[in-house]
C-alpha cells in the first residue's frame, strides 16, 4: 500500500519534509524529460568524453593476477577520470540537468571530498555557485580535498552536528535545501535519499558497467565471473553492477566498510549489521539502535563512513542478486599498499576495500575465471591518513 513511486522492492520512497516535495517532483519531471532529449544526451556525452575523459580504461592487472595466482583481474579505472573518481559521472549529469532547470546554485554533501570536488568542478565549468557540506571530522581527514574545492571557487561548510561525518553532511545539505529551493539544486552524490535521486544517480553511474561490459566482451569474448566494488551509499557499486544485473552468472559483490570489525560498534557495514528503517528520505537498511536512533558508524574511509545504504542495493540484497561482504580497515590498508606496490596504482582507500576482497577471492578461483574490480577513485587524498595509520607523520 505504500507509495509505489521510486521503490526497489520495499525500499526507497520519498520520506522528506513537505517543503521539499514540489522540488523533488519538479526534479523528477525534468529528469524524465531531459534523459530522452537528444540535445541533453549529446551535451552530456560530449562532457563525459572530452572533459571527464571517458571511456575509462578496463585494465588487465597482469602482475596482480599472477601474484595472487588465481582468477584474471581486470581493474575498471574510474580513478583516471577527471577529478580522480567516479563521482564526476553523476555530477556532470546532475549539474547539466540543474542548469536546464534554470537553477544557478549547487549544494552537495561530501564524505571523502571526492563528490564535493566533482561538484565544485562542474560548478566552475558551468558557471554555477556551489556550497559543499562536509563533516568537520572529514575536513581534517581530507584537508587536501577541502583546499581543492576552495580553489575551484566553492564554499566549504564544516558540519559540526552529530558525528561530524558524512551522514551529518547529508542532513545539513537537506536542511539547506529546505531553506533555499528556488535557485538551488541539491546535487546528491550517491544512490540514496528520496526518489528520484537513487534512480538519477544510478542512471548516470551506469556508464561504468555499460563500458565494462563492452570492454570485457571485446578483450575476453565473454562476461566476467564476478564484479566487485566498494559500497558506502553505493553509487560506484550500482554503476558497476547495473548492466550485469540481468546476467545471472555474473556474481555481484559489494564491499562494505567493516571498520574495526562487524562484531564491534566501530563499523559502517550496513547490510551486515543494520536493519530496516526510514532515514534521509528513504526506506532501506540502517545501522541503528533498538529505538531507531541512527548509530555513530566508523570506518577509516570517510567515503564509506555512512550508516545507510542505497535502496536498490537493499533490494539486490533481499532478492539475493548481489552479495555484500564486510572488509575491515586493516584489510583495506593492506590492499591499498599491495595494489600500489604490485601495479603502481594507488587506489582510494574506499576502492581499496574492493581490492581487499578481490585479493581474498581471486586465489580461490581457477585461472580461467575473470574478476572486474572497480577502482572508484585515486588514493592521493589518502596518503597522509594511511601514513598516520602506519604510525608515520607526513606533511601534506
Amino acid at each position: 500500500m505504500t507509495n509505489p513511486k521510486g521503490r526497489f522492492g520495499i525500499h526507497g520512497g520519498q520520506y522528506i519534509p513537505e517543503t521539499l516535495m514540489n522540488a523533488v517532483i519538479e526534479l523528477e519531471q525534468a529528469y524524465e524529460h531531459y534523459k530522452n532529449d537528444p540535445d541533453f544526451v549529446r551535451e552530456l556525452n560530449d562532457l563525459l568524453a572530452n572533459y571527464a575523459g571517458r571511456p575509462s580504461l578496463l585494465y588487465y592487472a597482469d602482475k596482480l593476477t599472477k601474484t595472487l595466482g588465481g582468477a584474471k583481474i581486470y581493474l575498471k579505472r574510474e580513478d583516471l577520470n577527471h577529478t580522480g573518481s567516479h563521482k564526476i559521472n553523476n555530477v556532470l549529469g546532475q549539474a547539466l540537468l540543474a542548469k536546464k532547470m534554470g537553477k544557478t546554485r549547487l549544494i552537495a554533501e561530501t564524505g571523502a571530498g571526492q563528490h564535493g570536488v566533482a561538484t565544485a568542478t562542474a560548478a566552475a565549468l558551468l558557471g554555477m555557485e556551489c556550497v559543499v557540506f562536509m563533516g568537520e571530522e572529514d575536513t581534517k581527514r581530507q584537508a587536501l580535498n577541502v583546499y581543492r574545492m576552495r580553489l575551484l571557487g566553492s564554499k566549504v561548510v564544516p558540519v559540526t552536528s552529530g558525528t561530524a561525518t558524512l551522514k551529518d553532511a547529508v542532513s545539513e545539505a537537506m536542511r539547506e535545501w529546505t531553506s533555499r529551493i528556488d535557485d538551488t539544486h541539491y546535487c546528491l552524490g550517491s544512490v540514496m535519499g528520496p526518489h528520484p535521486f537513487p534512480t538519477i544517480v544510478r542512471d548516470f553511474q551506469s556508464v561504468i558497467s555499460k563500458e565494462a561490459r563492452e570492454q570485457i566482451l571485446e578483450y575476453e569474448g565473454r562476461l566476467p565471473d564476478a564484479v566487485i566494488a566498494c559500497v558506502g551509499g553505493g553509487s560506484n557499486a550500482i554503476g558497476s553492477f547495473y548492466n550485469f544485473i540481468g546476467d545471472k552468472d555474473v556474481r555481484l559483490i559489494g564491499c562494505e566498510a567493516a571498520g574495526r570489525g562487524i562484531d564491534t560498534f566501530e563499523t559502517a557495514a550496513t547490510v551486515n549489521t543494520g536493519r530496516l528503517g526510514i532515514f534521509h528520505g528513504m526506506k532501506s537498511y540502517f545501522c541503528q539502535d533498538e529505538f531507531g536512533q541512527i548509530a555513530p558508524v566508523y570506518s577509516i574511509s570517510a567515503g564509506l563512513d555512512y550508516p545507510g545504504v542505497g535502496p536498490e542495493h537493499a533490494h539486490l540484497h533481499d532478492i539475493g542478486r548481489a552479495e555484500y561482504v564486510p572488509v575491515t580497515d586493516d584489510e583495506a590498508v593492506d590492499a591499498f599498499e599491495f595494489l600500489s606496490r604490485t601495479e603502481g596504482i594507488i587506489p582510494a582507500i574506499e576502492s581499496a576495500h574492493a581490492v581487499a576482497y578481490a585479493m581474498k577471492l581471486a586465489p580461490t578461483m581457477d585461472k580461467d575465471k575473470i574478476i572486474i574490480v572497480t577502482i572508484s577513485g585515486r588514493g592521493d587524498k589518502d596518503c597522509a591518513a594511511i601514513a598516520r595509520y602506519r604510525g608515520e607523520d607526513i606533511n601534506e
Binding site: M1, T2, N3, K5, G13, Q14, Y15, I16, P17, E18, T19, L20, M21, N22, A23, S161, G162, K167, D168, S171, M174, R175, T178, S179, R180, I181, R275, L276, G277, I278, F279, H280, G281, K283, F286, Q288, E290, F291, G292, Q293, I294
Partner: protein, 256 residues
C-alpha cells in the same frame, strides 16, 4: 470529536513544543504541568531523534541533550502514562518516521492510544508516504497530523482534504527556529485549506514573541512555538518550569 479538536474550542489555541528528557524527564513533567496551567491548549512532546533533519540548531541541541541523558521511547511512554494521571490537556508526539517505524508502527501507535496521546507529527512523512502509518493511526484513533508548507502550492487541497486532527502550517522555508520576519502569505494558504476541510489549522516555525503570535493568530486557529521555549530550557535547565510557564502565559494572552 477528537481530543485535538477540543484544544481549538476556546478561541485561538496556543501550542508549545518541548523535547522530552531535555534536560531530564522529571523537568519535562514540571514544564508540561506549568504550561498547561498557564494556558497551553495542546502540547507537542518531542521524542528525540539522533538526526533531526527538519530542526534548526536550537531543537537539535535539545535532541542531543535528551538522548545523552538516556531518554528512550519506552521511558517517554512511561512518562506520559504517569503524566496522564493529572494532566488532561491534549498531547501530540512530534518525532521522526524511523522512531515509529523502528519500534513497530502498530506497537507504537497502539501504545499512544493506551497512554493518552492524541496525535503524531512526523515532519519527514509527506502525503505520498503517509499510508506507512495512517491506516494504523485511524484504527487506533490517533490523529496523524498533516503539514502544509509555503512551497506546497497545488498540493494544499489534496493534503487538506484528507487531513486529521489539525493542519500544521509551516510558516517559512527552512528548518525550525526563531525568525525576525515571516514573509509567507499565510492568509492565502489558510483560505485554500478552508475550501477543503473544516479541521483547525495552526501555524508554526519561526514564531518567537507575543507580537508575532498575535499577528499569526489573525489568520489561523492556533500558533505553535518550539525553539523560543527550548532556548529557555537550554538556559534554565532543571529550573525551566517557571520561566517557560511565564512565557506561555504571555504568548497565550497575546492571542486571546
Amino acid at each position: 470529536m477528537s481530543n485535538i479538536a477540543k484544544a481549538f474550542e476556546g478561541g485561538k489555541a496556543f501550542i508549545p513544543f518541548i523535547t522530552c528528557g531535555d534536560p531530564d524527564l522529571e523537568t519535562t513533567g514540571k514544564i508540561v504541568r506549568e504550561m498547561a496551567a498557564n494556558g497551553a491548549d495542546l502540547i507537542e512532546l518531542g521524542i528525540p531523534f539522533s538526526d533531526p533533519t527538519a530542526e534548526g540548531p536550537v531543537i537539535q541541541g535539545a535532541n542531543i541533550r535528551a538522548l545523552s541523558g538516556g531518554v528512550t521511547t519506552d521511558k517517554i511512554f512511561d512518562f506520559v502514562r504517569e503524566l496522564r494521571k493529572d494532566v488532561s490537556v491534549p498531547l501530540v508526539f512530534m518525532t521522526y518516521s524511523n522512531v515509529v517505524f523502528s519500534y513497530g508502527a502498530e506497537r507504537f501507535i497502539s501504545t499512544c492510544q493506551q497512554i493518552g496521546i492524541d496525535g503524531i507529527i512526523l515532519p519527514d512523512l509527506p502525503f505520498e508516504e503517509k499510508d506507512e502509518f495512517l491506516p494504523i493511526c485511524r484504527q487506533y484513533g490517533v490523529d496523524l497530523i498533516s503539514l502544509i508548507a509555503p512551497t506546497s502550492a497545488d498540493r494544499v487541497a489534496m493534503i487538506a482534504k484528507d487531513a486529521d486532527g489539525f493542519i500544521y502550517i509551516v510558516s517559512s522555508l527552512g528548518v525550525t527556529g526563531e525568525r525576525s520576519q515571516i514573509t509567507t502569505d499565510i492568509s492565502k494558504l489558510v483560505s485554500v485549506i478552508r475550501e477543503n476541510t473544516d479541521i483547525p489549522c495552526a501555524v508554526g516555525f519561526g514564531i518567537s514573541n507575543p507580537e508575532q503570535a498575535k499577528n499569526m493568530s489573525q489568520f489561523a486557529d492556533g500558533v505553535i512555538v518550539g525553539s523560543a521555549i527550548v532556548r529557555k530550557i537550554a538556559q534554565h535547565g532543571k529550573d525551566s518550569a517557571k520561566p517557560v510557564g511565564e512565557f506561555v502565559k504571555q504568548m497565550k494572552d497575546a492571542i486571546r
